[in-house]
């Protein structure tokens, strides 16, 4: 009898050994792996494959973004808004930094740039030490989390006209745009993120979020070139209170606004010099909003 018991206990042990990994892999089939793992990304001449990005995601990203890409990694609980934004939930397929219009999916290049650039004032570092291929594979892996890519095409990148010459008149015109579209309500009249609405802001998931402070030396999250700043307010930051102003600001006016925003920033710039020369004053929140160019 004891012999038989030993035999069965051994068989059960082997069965347990075989069953445990099966149970583990069962957890990974919450979504349709077969289809999603075929996700690709195209950046320049490179093609990224989701499967190839899995290992790097597990090494570098999973602590914040979580195994399931839902932004619930082990560190998520310790990132407390508004000082630290929660990690991106890739399953939602909603991204702040895009070259495409508000509400549309970003391009693969947008996601690649985000991984490369990182996000200032967040726990997301620059991953430019990874090879281009590794970053492209990661883009494909990020895409595999959301069903949006299976059903939608990425938006078309907005057209950014050539940057005009900075002039004092353009900076003043930029101030008018700043006043008209009421940027100051969140960003403050001097770009210090202290506008009357600043303390009330929340993202689409109801979490507190702070407007960008132009004056503290930090870099805009979606890039710090003039083109990047142009793109930010023309496409908006999806998932946040920062809307797209593509319908409210004409392309030429947009450059004026870029020049005006530069006057807030710490770095030395021609815009700052010109603003100082002409004694440019901040907008007056109580003054009537200036009319859009071309309007009477």
């Amino acid at each position: 009898m004891r012999t038989e018991l030993r035999k069965w206990s051994l068989l059960l042990s082997v069965a347990a050994v075989l069953a445990l990994p099966l149970a583990s892999s069962a957890q990974l089939t919450k979504y349709d792996l077969a289809q999603k793992l075929n996700a690709e990304a195209h950046v320049g001449k490179l093609t990224g494959h989701a499967k190839a990005g899995a290992a790097d995601y597990r090494r570098y990203c999973v602590g914040c973004h979580g195994v399931l890409g839902d932004g619930n990694g082990e560190n998520a609980d310790w990132m407390l808004p508004p000082m630290y934004q929660k990690p991106r939930d890739f399953q939602l397929g909603i991204f702040k930094c895009r070259s495409t219009l508000s509400g549309t999916l970003p391009t693969d290049q947008d996601l690649y740039d985000a991984i490369t650039r990182g996000f200032d004032r967040s726990n997301m570092p620059q991953w430019n030490t990874l090879s281009k291929q590794e970053r492209t594979d990661l883009v494909a892996w990020v895409k595999h989390f959301s069903p949006r890519w299976a059903n939608e095409q990425p938006g078309t990148p907005i057209t950014i006209p050539p940057e005009p010459e900075v002039t004092a008149d353009r900076i003043k015109a930029g101030r008018d745009v700043f006043a008209r579209v009421q940027c100051w309500k969140c960003h403050g009249v001097a770009g210090q993120a202290n506008g009357p609405s600043a303390s009330t802001l929340a993202d689409d998931l109801g979490r507190p979020i702070a407007p960008f402070n132009f004056t503290d030396g930090s870099r805009p999250k979606c890039g710090d070139t003039d083109k990047d700043i142009y793109r930010i307010f023309m496409t908006g930051l999806d998932g946040t209170p920062m809307p797209s102003f593509a319908d409210n600001i004409k392309p030429d006016e947009a450059w004026d606004l870029v020049f005006y925003l530069r006057t807030f920033m710490q770095e030395k710039s021609k815009e700052k010099e010109l603003a100082k020369q002409i004694g440019l004053k901040p907008v007056d929140p109580n003054a009537p909003a200036p009319a859009a160019s071309g309007q009477q």
């Binding site: 051994l10 082997v14 597990r58 620059q126």
Partner: protein
């Protein structure tokens, strides 16, 4: 009823069967329940990144970790300064490794006994010893004092608890907003791409890079050991993505010893540069070089015959130079190659130079008159090199391969070979008036002191989080050195020495 007749089995066999089953289950549970992939937890805790983000396998850095280090332990995300941390955050980590190991030395000269008493005879035999043991204890503390100003402090003890400061420095980064302008001052590891302080192996001979510490037999120069932390100042410059790196250090030729030791007044320069290349799916490859050129004293003043601390003069030169390659063959396989050509001045070859106090780095204690037993030879004014003296030189290479199954499991293999190309005692060697100052009175065999060693092992991290690290470490090292065994008792001929060590331990930090 047919009853199967079972063969009788011993209790041992039954126990083995049960143990196998239980082991299988345990291994399966560990492999199954382990979280997706384990650093200096102080940094990991600060930034919320898992160990695997910065470490190929803790403690060896990957490129991202190297960039983090090169940026002064900063992610460069405008949240690096301590003002952004919870006031309770204190960047301290301890690391220690309880181990079991077995060390076997192939040839040891021992006393012989007859009828229960020493008979005055000698024999040579293998000595093996095994048991449970401890590594030393490291208290790592490091981080930023302010944006672009960082520090590192590492009080470190040997297994008995005797402490020294293994690493202490303050660094200033991104001066004038340029990643090309970074400086640090203190005691630090030289800018070795294959970092010995981040070595993945723990045995006595395998836990260091022989290429970084090779010294010809009888040589008195302990100062060219690029694996030891040194006291000095370092300039580092790197591109924003860390693909290009250059560094230059000026260090005291004291092998990191404090208190302006005997060899004060001598300096060494260390220079390194490397360039990384993007090789598609193969990963990022890096090629670099290093060169160390310096001087150290061979002569120190005495007072009543006793060496006078900090009085080293009579500086002689030495150099170390080589190439480094860090290659990846996809995400799982890596190979690092380090070469070295080393040369010491002929005075060092004759045993002059090592006048350091005991420091744990191979220095010599000398509390008595110079030239008395236990004291290093002194290059008194008027001393001449013995006839047949030569500048010793050698070549070495280290190959270290990694198979990274996952961030939690890494297999390590290493092969190192160091070969003399010119011995200190050349043809026609005749000792001078001070005698055989390097311990050898005749011409040295061409292979004397040559080393070949290999190490294999693996480290398994059962969990990986951004809070703490634990690795189950297993390793085997074998080392062969020519001519360093006990002399043949019958003929007096030099013999070769083999040593080996097997080690298992739990390497943890918190």
């Amino acid at each position: 009823m047919h009853v199967k007749k079972r063969l009788p089995r011993s209790n041992v066999a039954r126990f083995a069967t049960s143990l196998s089953a239980v082991s299988l289950i345990l291994v399966s549970i560990i492999l199954t329940c382990s979280q997706p992939a384990n650093a200096l937890p102080a940094f990991a805790r600060k930034y919320g990144l898992r160990c695997s983000a910065c470490h190929e396998s803790w403690p060896m850095l990957n490129y991202f970790g190297q960039k983090f280090k090169d940026n002064g332990y900063q992610l460069m995300n405008d949240r690096d300064a301590p003002i952004w941390q919870n006031p309770g955050y204190w960047p301290v980590v301890f690391r220690i490794t309880p181990i079991w190991h077995r060390v076997s030395v192939g040839k040891v000269q021992v006393d012989t006994y007859t009828a229960g008493a020493a008979d005055g005879g000698q024999a040579v035999q293998r000595v093996s010893s095994s048991g449970f043991d401890l590594s030393g204890l490291d208290f790592h503390t490091g981080g930023t004092l302010e944006k672009n100003i960082s520090f590192y402090l590492l009080p470190s003890s040997d297994p008995t608890g005797a402490f020294h400061f293994e690493q202490v420095f303050v660094r200033f980064d991104n001066i004038f907003h340029s990643s090309w302008l970074n400086f640090k001052l203190g005691r630090f590891e030289l800018d070795n791409l294959l970092s010995e302080k981040r070595i993945l192996t723990l045995t006595g001979n395998g836990g260091v890079y022989q290429t970084y510490h090779f010294i010809p037999q009888g040589d008195g120069n302990i100062f060219g050991q690029i694996g030891d932390n040194q006291l000095g100042i370092e300039y580092l410059g790197h591109s924003a993505d860390d693909r290009t790196r250059i560094s230059a250090s000026l260090v005291s030729s004291s092998d990191g010893n404090v208190n302006l030791s005997t060899t004060a007044n001598a300096y060494t320069g260390f220079f390194a540069g490397s360039q990384a290349f993007d090789a598609g799916r193969m990963g990022v490859q890096r090629l670099g070089f290093y060169a160390m050129a310096g001087e150290a004293s061979t002569y120190y003043l005495t007072q009543g015959g006793v060496p006078l601390g900090g009085s080293g003069i009579g500086n002689k030169s030495f150099s170390r130079e080589g190439f480094v390659g860090q290659f990846y063959f996809g995400p799982h396989v890596g190979l690092t190659v380090v070469t070295q050509h080393g040369t010491d001045n002929a005075w060092f070859g004759q045993g002059y130079g090592n006048a350091e106090a005991t420091d744990g780095n191979g220095g010599t204690t000398c509390g008595g008159p110079a030239l008395s037993p236990g004291c290093p030879p002194n290059n008194f004014p008027g001393t001449a090199l013995p006839t047949g003296s030569q500048a010793p030189s050698w070549n070495g290479v280290t190959f270290e391969g990694h198979y990274i199954y996952s961030p939690q499991l890494i297999f390590i293999s290493r092969y190192e070979v160091e070969k003399m190309s010119q011995q200190a005692n050349g043809p026609g060697y005749t000792p001078g008036p001070q005698g055989a100052t390097n311990g050898f009175s005749t011409q040295m065999p061409s292979n004397l002191g040559n080393i070949s060693t290999y190490t294999i092992g693996f480290r398994y991290n059962p969990f990986m989080t951004s809070r703490a690290g634990l690795a189950w470490h297993n390793e085997y090292n074998w080392l062969h050195q020519d001519g360093t065994g006990p002399a043949n008792l019958a003929t007096g001929a030099l013999t070769n020495l083999n040593t080996s060590e097997i080690l298992m331990g739990l390497d943890f930090d918190f």
